[in-house]
């Protein structure tokens, strides 16, 4: 009827126990959940957007010092982490697919793989943080970042500007890592439910919605990696 989301007025009795009282159909419930997640991701874009804005301004102002800061980051670890996240995105996608196909075992395996990859990412991130800590590159009273601007051996790095780079680095990657931790938590919960065979072709909304979230976190990293690790690398 017209463009209403509810197709017909009265529906047969609820077949699925997961259907909440205030929804007319499973379809409606699923669409609501997925739209809800997408809208939430839109807010997340703006949340990171505020930081991207700060990043853009200071990168424009202090390009040389940002380049220097960026070159002190470990591309191998950062690149590996990018790959790890991409793999985890694959496993999530496969988990959703398995749910669509009702392959109970595969769902669980894929979800566990995803969480493992997530933990690997966090582990590597931890190693990087540790390195920065040892090198005194953590903003604060002990901050110390000697060296010169890439391509200009005679211009020393401005400590303040480098500190802004590292502040942004830690806040952006830190909030990203926080999102990862939340994601792993979500998947732990979903794996538990998957083990209780909650999901199948009729009902896999939670897997799918959590998957959307995870992919989004991956996308953020896809941008963070070049923006933070690859400034002015060639010099």
């Amino acid at each position: 009827m017209h463009n209403s989301p509810i197709a017909t007025a009265d529906q047969e009795a609820h077949q699925n126990p997961a259907l909440l009282h205030h929804f007319a159909t499973e379809e409606q419930q699923k669409d609501a959940a997925s739209l809800g997640m997408w809208v939430f991701l839109a807010t997340e874009i703006m949340f990171f957007g505020g930081m991207f804005c700060a990043y853009l301004v200071y990168r424009y102002w202090y390009f040389g010092d940002f380049g220097a800061g960026s070159q002190s980051l470990n591309v191998v670890l950062g690149g590996t982490n990018t790959a790890v996240l991409i793999c985890s995105s694959l496993t999530v996608a496969l988990a959703v697919r398995a749910a669509q196909l009702g392959q109970q075992k595969v769902i669980i395996i894929c979800l566990i793989l995803t969480m493992l990859l997530g933990l690997v990412f966090l582990g590597i991130k931890g190693v990087e943080y540790h390195d920065k800590f040892v090198e005194h590159h953590v903003p604060g009273p002990g901050f110390h970042f000697p060296g010169h601007v890439p391509g200009h051996p005679d211009i020393p790095i401005n400590q303040h500007h480098a500190q802004i780079f590292f502040s942004l680095y830690f806040i952006m990657t830190g909030l990203h890592a926080l999102h990862m931790i939340i994601g792993v938590g979500l998947f732990a919960f979903i794996t538990y439910n998957a083990m209780r065979r909650r999901y199948g072709p009729d009902y896999y909304t939670p897997v799918e919605v959590a998957g959307l979230y995870w992919h989004f976190v991956d996308i953020i990293w896809i941008y963070l990696f070049p923006l933070l690790y690859l400034i002015d690398r060639s010099k």
Binding site: S4, F23, G36, A42, T43, A54, P139, H160, Q163, S167
Partner: protein
């Protein structure tokens, strides 16, 4: 309809279905959550109002004699923060929107009832942090948190205040999320987009701002907190940062936020004007598009708060120009409300009185906004009482009026009781008179050059007369605000039971019983009529007086 009946023989409603604290604190019923919000925002309104009264008392005399300078600074800071973040932003959406949107579109609840409850809890956690801040000695950054003052130079509770607003921000985001998804996914059969009441459209537009603006405020406050704790330098010029970046990020949210604080009120006024003129709204499509237009274009104008802050000349020009673009849809709205009354059949119940007040005061507030948007004038009046008067005209004269109008309009539905009409009209009159007395003099003060956030103006005693008028007005206003609170409470016990449709109004919410049952509708409603079908409504049914 097969109505559920309680053992006592009463009809079962959302209010009497269950009793006890738990049935309220763990409820997922949007109507009960709306009432939880009602109680909590009223609490914060009176706290904010209390600070306002102290501000006004201090300004009665030029010398800073009632309170200390620091105390005064805390008063206006906490007045602004409490009023904006803990009263006006949630006021209409979280109370009336929460209560009415599902009913208006023919749904049993919002799309995510538990998220709705979560957002109330977030609000309460934020509110508790704010109260903690207040009780612990307060904060004196100004509601705008400008850096580097807030990050490096004050030793008050900036961190907890920032976190309070951070948390409350997520409450606002979740409310917006719920509304957007609900409007998309939960409409009853036949409830097409072009049949939505403008109240729903207004909340949809508001939600867009809440969703896309609030996260930026959240991250900005987080940066302020980090900056304060770790001295990173992001907003600190001494460490190479740019204090204007903070202002850009802050106003990127806080300008659109002023539309969070007015669009829902516009929705209310549309409902009221139609009902008491017995007419369809004039220019439905234009009205709906104007709401969306304000929400979108509202994001393009933020730096008009920074004209003298040291931004580029050219950016200032762009932002001034764009500021005028938002005013066009606002103009459309004012003209359409007026035209709606043309050839109507108008009655003057309390809600309509508030709607009149809204139209007039919003127009005046909006037009003075045009003064501010004009670069040449803004240089002179920015950061003076002219600005203070401008925004109180819109926020208090506009939105608080609309909120009160809406409360009176839907109170019979919410509580199942009528409020005393005579008292209602008296309070509306008091609010109107008190308001103008309080804030009109401030326009003049501002043009004379009295800066805002001044604790002491003994160097310019010529400002005193107008300040005395303003303080006098504030006392009248206080009475006008306390009255409704008293008679609403009174009516819950002693008011006449309200009929299902006391105003003979159009809209789904008037087809359910007052107060509505838990799931709003016994059967899924099917909509076959356009919005505001006042021509199809019989006039014989007595209209409550």
């Amino acid at each position: 309809m097969a109505t559920a009946v309680l053992e006592s023989g009463e009809r079962e409603t959302y209010l009497n279905k269950e009793y006890g604290i738990k049935s309220w604190l763990l409820t997922v019923d949007h109507k009960r959550i709306a009432l939880l919000y009602l109680v909590s925002i009223t609490f914060f309104f009176f706290i904010g109002g209390f600070f306002a009264l102290l501000i006004r008392l201090e300004l009665l005399t030029p010398a800073g004699d009632l309170v200390q300078a620091d105390t005064y600074n805390k008063l206006f800071t906490m007045h602004g923060q409490v009023m904006v973040f803990f009263f006006l932003i949630p006021a209409v959406p979280a109370v009336l929107g929460n209560f009415l949107i599902p009913i208006m579109i023919g749904a049993k609840d919002l799309a995510f009832p538990r998220v709705n409850l979560l957002s109330w809890y977030l609000y309460i956690i934020g509110g508790a942090l704010m109260l903690y801040t207040i009780l612990n000695g307060g904060v004196d950054t100004g509601w705008t948190f400008y850096t580097p003052l807030s990050t490096e130079f004050l030793n008050t509770h900036v961190v907890t205040a920032g976190l309070a607003i951070f948390v409350a921000g997520f409450s606002s985001i979740l409310t917006g999320l719920n509304f957007v998804v609900t409007t998309h996914r939960m409409r009853a059969p036949g409830m097409t987009w072009s049949r939505l009441p403008l109240f729903v459209w207004a909340h949809y537009a508001t939600s867009i701002i809440q969703l896309l603006g609030t996260p930026v405020l959240a991250i900005t406050l987080l940066l302020v907190v980090c900056e304060r704790l770790f001295h990173l330098g992001i907003f600190n010029p001494a460490l190479g940062g740019d204090p204007l970046l903070f202002q850009h990020l802050f106003w990127f949210y806080s300008h659109p936020a002023v539309y969070i604080m007015i669009l829902p009120g516009m929705g209310i006024v549309s409902e009221i004007v139609c009902c008491f003129s017995r007419k369809r709204i004039f220019g439905y499509t234009a009205m709906a598009l104007a709401l969306l237009g304000i929400a979108v274009v509202g994001f393009l104008v933020w730096a008009h708060h920074m004209f003298v802050a040291g931004i580029s000349l050219y950016a200032a020009m762009i932002f001034s120009l764009l500021s005028y673009f938002v005013a066009v849809p606002s103009a459309i709205k004012v003209f359409n409300w007026t035209s709606t009354m043309y050839k109507g059949s108008i009655t003057y119940q309390t809600p309509m009185l508030y709607a009149f007040g809204f139209i007039g005061l919003f127009t005046m507030g909006g037009l003075t906004g045009l003064f501010l948007a004009s670069l040449g004038i803004d240089v002179h009046v920015t950061d003076t009482y002219f600005v203070v008067a401008h925004f109180h005209y819109i926020m208090v004269g506009g939105m608080v009026m609309a909120y009160l109008g809406g409360m009176h309009f839907w109170w019979p539905k919410i509580s199942g009781r009528m409020y005393p009409e005579g008292w209602g009209r008296l309070a509306a009159l008091l609010v109107f008179v008190g308001f103008n007395l309080t804030f009109f003099p401030q326009f003049i003060l501002g043009y004379m050059g009295m800066p805002r956030r001044y604790w002491d103006y003994s160097h310019s005693p010529e400002f005193q007369i107008l300040n005395v008028l303003s303080t006098a007005g504030a006392t009248v206003l206080a009475v006008g605000y306390v009255l409704p609170m008293i008679y609403f409470l009174w009516s819950m016990r002693y008011g006449k039971p309200a009929p299902d449709n006391p105003w003979n109004a159009a809209g789904l919410e008037w087809m359910v019983p007052s107060p509505p049952p838990t799931f709003n509708f016994e059967e899924q409603p099917v909509v076959t009529w356009e919005a505001y079908n006042y021509d199809e409504i019989k006039e014989e049914v007595p209209v409550a007086q």
